[in-house]
Amino acid sequence: MTCGHKSSQIEQTRPLVYLALLGLILLWPLPSHAYAGPGAGFAVLSSFWTLFVAFLYSVYAFFVWPFRQLFRLLRRRKAYGKAQIKRAVILGFDGMDPELTERFIAEGRLPNLARLRQQGTFRKLRTTYPAISPVAWSTFMTGVNPGKHNIYDFLARDLSNYLPYLSSAEIKGPKHSWKIGKYNIPLGGARIRGMRRGTPFWHWLGEAGIFCSVLRVPVTFPPEEFSGVLLSGMCVPDLKGSQGTFCFCSTRPSGEKFREGGVRVPIERRGSRYTSYVPGPEDPLAGGSGSELRVNFQIDPEPRTNQARLTVDSETFTLKVGDYSAWIPIKFKSGIGFSAHGICRFYLKEVSPEIEIYVTPVNIDPARPDLPISHPVTYSIYLAKLFGPYATLGLAEDTWALNEKVLDDQAFLAQCYANHEDRERMLFDALEKTQQGLCACVFDTTDRVQHMFWRYLDEDHPAARGVPRDQRPSVIQDLYARMDELIGRVMKQIDDHTLLMIVSDHGFKSFARCVNLNAWLHQNGYLALKSGKTESGDWFDDVDWSRTRAYTMGLNGLYVNLKGREREGIVEPGAEADSLKDELRRKLDGLSDPASGRAGITGVFDCDAVYAGPYVDNAPDLLVGYGDGFRASWDSVMGKVTSQIFEDNLKAWSGDHCIDPRLVPGVLFCNQKISDEKPAIVDVAPTILKLFGLALPRHLDGKPWTVGAAIHATSAATAP
């Protein structure tokens, strides 16, 4: 995480840069410039340098252009020769719900989607099992079921210790290090391994010479090479290597720890000033001792004006209470030559009588990425130079901070929409740059805002019972209207030969009641605790594996403690395991909530029947489909056994989709007619490949849709 990644392109051009600089020094300056002094020299040198590089590149491009065109012609003939479309624009709105969309269309809030429905297509889009974003978007891009792409949840379990790990990517330290005394000098950079299998459809398009711009599609970290540009989305870690760890600095002493997603840091008084720090990644020189790097900052409170002046490194800025800073670059230093570059935003929560400051997770700096977050590496740099710093963290909207009441509704929304605006700018740049080919962009805002504000949409959500109906903000209505307005602007940018597709990976439902499946397993004799224990700690602390037959962790997976697979498995594979799965399915399907009598679970699915492919062995044994209004409890997700099976969800995170996939289909809008009545997200990849005239790889599970006659046959017009 510490050693800077250097673009191979930058490396390649370095000799050219030196040569050009030498030429510049020798040939360019005139005595008149010297007489104007270095001030003029700086300006002339810098601007000339830019033009000079551009000129050199032009010369290079001019000479290689015929060869490149010939090469492209040969490659593109394969694709555009049979293409039905010139360009495909796919807008992904994570979690956009078809029922809500229909409701808001009927209320006249979504004129552009209404127009798309009228002129083209609107369908519910069948999602994946389970209906979780990394799973569904992996299927979207690969056109295969999870048994072939290996993503079943955000988390997967380590069979050797029943602990979770991130399912999409593995980040390890350098392979070799050099130990000198107490220091451990890493030799080489971090090792990153993508865990998602399958091939994204833009890879095939790129191979055929069709340019693709892909923005923020989940599970694209680490970015894979292909012919196009890609900015990674969900699953990109923060600089600590986590999926987002905020920092809450306060003068109020508190021994409480956040359950997940954040750390408390004290603000200490030193004279008239206050100091605190932003925790960073582990010190690479400390040899795994766990000591973290820190960046200190100073706070000068001005209670009379309700603001404070913050100094971080050489940057000084003033914040009013309730204001966010811009993205502030911070550099974690560890000895000579080792540093990690990040960016974060500061939010002044309170300045008097106490001082409280929220700091976003430290995002990888897109202008100096220490880990690759785009392909090519220069693409994230390009976007940062063009638009300024932007959030790179996969889950950049800090839902944990709102859940933990560190941020309030307003502050959370401000953060969401600031990120959203950055992504809109990137989308419109990609649209401009991709006049032919594929432009795909996924917006997370829809998912995060619905997760956190569903409580105001529900009639009687436990997390909003204290808020009178007429005082509830229309956050979700506004969100959909805002997305509709964005769609309208995109529709203005496209022509008749462009296919516009709007998809979501799943829909949304209320999450009012929590189901602790581990508690149910415990109370029904499938999971045993150590003698004398009535509850476990996180991650199965105090679980007696020698007497446990089944357990759950993550959002939907249920696992048999299988002998020979799990470290302390006791269930024999084969008949015994099959019998146990049948028994669990029978008992769990229709499990009702004693408080309301409603079904907390509406389906339990055997993964052997649901999935097919080389990675099925990594799947859970059963998938639990929770009913409308229910979801796995916060404790159950973290492998904790409690005494209550059902309980109210009192957190701001009040809407969810990790339930029975049949209840939460996504949306499919298209500016063309699609004849299929029951399209699925797995069909998107083969449909796009077919529309561009490519042969479909045999291993795809999706079936291409018949996209209507309204599409103009553009093969002749678009062939290069």
Binding site: Q9, I25, P29, P31, H33, A34, Y35, A36, G37, P38, G39, A40, G41, F42, A43, L45, S46, S47, T50, L51, V53, A54, Y57, S58, A61, R68, R72, F211, V229, S314, P376, T378, Y379, I381, Y382, L383, A384, K385, L386, G388, E432, K433, T434, Q435, Q436
Partner: protein, 257 residues
């Protein structure tokens, strides 16, 4: 003079360059819109990267070239403001420095020309040169009617600071001549009127008005400064070193230029 003497001019140029580089960077920081310059430079870099990222898309490439030109113009406009603050003092400073560092004094035994430029060619025959002890004329005067100029070849017998006089009719016009070594303040020309020209090229009082002589000129040899194994004109060396110092200090001070 020895080796130390040889090194003094280069040492002075290095020292001045470092100081000027630092001062210029600081002045630049306080007189420019640092944020706007940062953004302008970032945009330039972005458009350069776009050339590479979207190289197969000719429309994008052409647009990027256009944007590079526009962004360069924008950057130059932003850099122009600090330039206004420094250009006048820098120009006067460099003019003064040039009088010490630009030329070397005449050598003993070395022939040099003293030229007088008259208002018209008719008065050339009236002009004569009066030399002090230590300077001797080595050739008859040469008249160049086309230039209204008369030139005398002179040789110095010993080092010293001399005043030669050009006599026209009954009027005498003095010109300082320095023979020797070191870094005295040298003035190659004495002018009549021409205020701005005198500011830039002469270090002597103006010639009196209402006379026939427009200028008296003594050409000193240019000074070459040994630095890094290369003989430099001081202004080139200053240009490069002050730029290098500027780039060094801007990195240290975190100033955007």
């Amino acid at each position: 003079m020895g080796s130390l003497g040889m090194n003094i001019p280069s040492g002075i140029v290095v020292g001045i360059s470092l100081v000027i580089g630092l001062v210029m960077v600081i002045v630049f920081a306080y007189t420019s819109d640092q944020k706007a310059i940062h953004i302008a430079k970032d945009h330039l870099k972005a458009h350069l990267l776009a050339l590479r990222l979207f190289q197969d898309q000719i429309q994008v490439v052409l647009r990027s070239y256009g944007r590079i030109v526009l962004a360069t113009g924008s950057y130059l406009r932003l850099a122009f403001k600090p330039l206004l603050f420094v250009i006048v003092p820098m120009t006067f400073l460099i003019v003064q420095l040039d009088r010490y560092l630009g030329s070397v004094p005449l050598s003993t035994g070395q022939a040099f020309l003293v030229k007088a430029r008259m208002d018209n060619a008719d008065s050339l025959n009236q002009a004569s040169l009066q030399l002090p002890d230590g300077l001797t004329s080595s050739a008859p005067a040469v008249h160049v009617p086309a230039e209204s100029e008369v030139a005398w070849r002179v040789v110095a017998e010993k080092a010293g600071e001399y005043v030669v006089h050009v006599q026209v009719a009954d009027q005498l016009f003095a010109k300082r001549v320095i023979v020797g070594s070191g870094m005295p303040r040298l003035s190659s020309v004495r002018l009549r009127g021409k205020f701005w020209e005198r500011i830039f090229v002469s270090a002597e009082p103006a010639l009196p008005d209402n006379n026939f002589v427009g200028a008296i000129d003594v050409q000193y040899p240019a000074r070459n400064i040994a630095f890094a194994g290369v003989e430099w004109n001081w202004i080139w060396l200053f240009f490069i070193l002050s730029l290098a110092a500027g780039f060094l200090f801007k990195s240290i001070l975190g100033i955007e230029i």
